[in-house]
Symmetry: C2
Subunit: 431 residues, 2 copies
Amino acid sequence: MDRVVRLGLLGCGTVGGGVATILAREADDITARTGAKLEIARVAVRDTTKDRGLGLPPEAFTSDPSEVVEANDVDVIVEVMGGRDRAGDLIRRALELGKPVVTANKELVAHEGPELYAAARAAGVDLAYEAAVAGAIPIIKPMKESLAGDHIDRVVGILNGTTNYILTRMSEEGAAYEDVLSDAQALGYAEADPTADVGGGDAAAKCAILASLAFDTSVYADDVFTAGIDSVTEVDIRVADRLGYVIKLLGIASVVDGRVAVRVHPAFLPKTHPLASVRGSFNAIFVQARAAGELMFYGPGAGAEPTGSAVVGDVIDVARNLMQTARGAAESQHRPMPIRPIEDLSTQYYVLLDVEDEAGVLAQVATVFGDHDVSIAQVWQEGHGDSAQLVLITHRAREGDLRATVDSLGATPCVRSVASVLRVEAEVFDS
Amino acid sequence: MDRVVRLGLLGCGTVGGGVATILAREADDITARTGAKLEIARVAVRDTTKDRGLGLPPEAFTSDPSEVVEANDVDVIVEVMGGRDRAGDLIRRALELGKPVVTANKELVAHEGPELYAAARAAGVDLAYEAAVAGAIPIIKPMKESLAGDHIDRVVGILNGTTNYILTRMSEEGAAYEDVLSDAQALGYAEADPTADVGGGDAAAKCAILASLAFDTSVYADDVFTAGIDSVTEVDIRVADRLGYVIKLLGIASVVDGRVAVRVHPAFLPKTHPLASVRGSFNAIFVQARAAGELMFYGPGAGAEPTGSAVVGDVIDVARNLMQTARGAAESQHRPMPIRPIEDLSTQYYVLLDVEDEAGVLAQVATVFGDHDVSIAQVWQEGHGDSAQLVLITHRAREGDLRATVDSLGATPCVRSVASVLRVEAEVFDS
């Protein structure tokens, strides 16, 4: 007879519902593959009176998640309630009790991941979080296990579906940011308050998790330099296109001279790069490894069932280990490294200036760049008459120098305003 | 003190060399991540006198692979010697002895995979073969573990780097097949005898392995309908381009009406499909899963270090399990299914005909298609005068009917020859 592994769900919203749906629909295959029946034994929800169609007796539901964690008839904890403090306490308690935990909680893992990994390691219990990054895309497990024998040099990701949807439509339709955003909100692709998405915070959280894993070190969400897409204009998109680039919100993590360089911002990306063809709300993570070379993982970054698929995959893993009193791969944090300040970044830049339409403007502007050791690779005038604009692409320069250049440009009489500044990521990212 | 897991290498050619390089170079990280030192204890090679720079004493080398398998000081067998019979016997013996096996042997797994999985299951020992499909790309583990809770509907892969390199150059440079092939041979991208690559056999082997895994059933290399790229011409590529397609050698596996449909052939693929932008010698596997949606895994499909990276990842996995006397995920073969004959395929087709330049040709040709229940979606004349060609794109039709059509066309007086027939895979593949 098959064994039974009993699950305790903390939360039963979008992702929890997806998990329950998949567990029911694929039950036979899951049992065959796991060698155990996975059974939802208890569920913590805010409203215990609501019928969730899980076919569970009323006493399986509680409004107190602690009850689920402590229950003797729960073997594995599935945390899909979200939030930080309460969820963190519950997970730590579950690990203490020797109960493996599967979580989809990106925010928690991005802010307290290294501490949670340490708690899991101390308890000798599995903690899995595939669903916390890029929804359905298998990326945590491939990085942690498939590439365990390799050395990851760089991770570059399109980690937020909402912003990629907006940028794709801007690029393919020549539409304005505000118009596409309202459209995305109407279609449910963007929240009423889109700050976490368009401001880059959501992508930064995922980028921190990936950086920790890639470099065997501790990187937190707050370590990630973050800029959003709200200032990207149609002109920026058009200029990028003309030069052979697309604009994408990228999360980029690498190690440079023993420091972790980790940043999220919109950037020019060559159209030939595999990430450039990632359209709409899809996510993708590009991994550069010393032996494996250039890998990319692509798929839906969100949604009840995609995220649920990742959660259930993790549950099967930890259940298999639990039955064998074994542990899966753990995170290595053996290489403490400082975070490199963004000022030390070295990359190319695109600068768009509103300028007076008069003789000598280019000379004045070029002097400002030269004064700050930023060398210009390409320059041309866009528009004419009242709305003259100057487009500049720099050679590789230090971010600190570029910022000083921009400050000086702001104080240069012939420059009405600095309209846009974006980083240009060539095939070989920063060094 | 760290534990030591002792490896026995069967073979030390290209892949074996890559494995040894990686184990030495990443030794510290591998130890930290595994909780064990991975040590090459014994190596079976044809020529034991050659110095392989592994820093091993001469007595570690033997020309008899059985010695390595039987040795008491070998914990894990790494089979990178290739070939079928001998390698299969050695792997079966290792499993019998309770020694986990990591193999990169695509040919063996494609022909005897299900029997080997059963042997591993019976012995309760791990058998890992990530490196047998698509080199560095993590695909076996994601399909077997990350998607264990999901239902895979379809796998579509670019599974051979040589043919993708040739097709990419033909497409981007308008070059002829023969010219690019000689070039590829000169550059070492293609073998002197390129049959296994350009004939589709190599891709078919990988496709069989993926189909078994995707559908929990037994699929062998010989079950795969296979056609190569040697008949693809510049005209085909140009027509595809004009219609919004690229030509790729695809491995396609799905389950239709309880039968496994599995095939490798060149096909028209829409330029908007994620696989269409896979250029050069890269591989990629597109997986459509019920809950996860559309996933894609991209990377180098061959090479000493890319393949070595996959082998070492597997070694770390089985070593971790071995130390815990646990087993990793096993293959499920619980769903026996027949193979669907290619005649039952339903898809669109592109047909290129050399025809007489005379009135009434189209009517005659259209009649032949109509007689066989194949309906024409688009038709036009290419070229003129002596070299008149007719291009036809059909609606979805049964392969058996299309073949009968082509036979009849060959016997139609106004048709000089059937120059090309290629399948057209729209966004939604066959049904």
